[in-house]
Point group: C2
């Protein structure tokens, strides 16, 4: 096949692809506040949530973050997004991972304080995007009643976007979400003896 | 089982978990610039890359971004991260998705300009993190020679981190990466007729 033929075929294939994509775009004409879930055992669940925060800020939107489980060590994303107090309301409610505290009652109390903050945010239409980081873990541990979470999501402002992260997303949450991604671990540096690297994982 | 028993069991289980995790942490004692790949057909590949950018900036690191394919529309993350020209070097090299241009030769030329910029960044030890957004697509389309990408990654500064995104990551890339995550689509709003939402997907 000559270069010219290859280029022609490429153009034809891309024209067909463009037609299909344009038709899809024409069909997808609804606007809606989305519920996104990032789950699975791989990396990138929280990172993707914080990437969406950056994207929303780039459009002049207002953002609120609640971190449910982390909190015993200062993380890079917290350092960074706290630079913008007028645009990002940032709450870190957890007291470290649950195997650090080893105290179920205290963990439940902490999780419920975080959840009540989240409920306020989910009923505030002036906040365009709410990131509920590691909420899935708190749900999986049974620290927060699933019913209350489902009710708050059902009643949220129509155009508000919500991102929920953490492994082990509950089926009922997946059910009411608009977009659900499973982050699957294919390979992890940690297993090769490399500790969590500042700026990448912390 | 009484509440007290349940709490005791929880404490014991978490103590065992903490021992396991602490032992893992003790084993993982290497520091290294990581190569991370976010691939798969689900959402969150680029978002997770930009989340890592935010995290790195929170640690005072310097960052460079090359966007290989996007570029015909202004995206939120570009708006946002261009606010920090002293900390983030931002290059958008693509001219829209390849089915918009429908011109293979021009796409190759554009991709190679972007790649040459990436090569400069990957040999600059003053840059702590390089995000090569949608590089996988450019590789999959055959626009950039895989050998050159592998060579640049092998020779990069030892402590520099690199994040590569895009579906269809090449096996050879997965091979030399430290951490690879597959974003799997479980559910996507677009298929329910909801168009890409500003702040979340754009």
């Amino acid at each position: 096949m000559s270069d010219q033929q290859r280029n022609q075929r490429h153009t034809q294939r891309m024209q067909r692809k463009k037609e299909l994509i344009d038709a899809g775009v024409a069909r997808a004409d609804k606007d809606k506040g989305l519920i996104l879930i990032n789950t699975g055992n791989g990396k990138g669940k929280s990172s993707a949530g914080f990437g969406v925060v950056a994207r929303a800020l780039g459009h002049g939107m207002t953002v609120a973050v609640v971190q449910f489980i982390k909190g015993s060590f200062q993380t890079g994303e917290e350092n960074f997004f706290r630079r913008f107090p007028d645009e990002v309301e940032y709450h870190v409610m957890g007291e470290g991972f649950t195997w650090d505290t080893q105290n179920r009652e205290r963990d439940i109390a902490t999780a419920m304080v975080a959840w009540e903050k989240a409920e306020q945010l989910l009923s505030n239409p002036t906040i365009d995007l709410v990131l509920l980081d590691e909420l899935n873990i708190a749900l999986k541990m049974g620290y927060i009643p699933l019913d209350r979470v489902l009710a708050a999501l059902r009643d949220k402002p129509e155009m508000q976007h919500v991102v929920i992260t953490g492994r082990g997303a509950k089926d009922e949450l997946v059910e009411i979400a608009d977009t659900v991604t499973e982050m699957r671990e294919i390979k992890h540096a940690y297993k090769a003896g490399i500790r969590a690297q500042k700026g990448v994982e912390l």
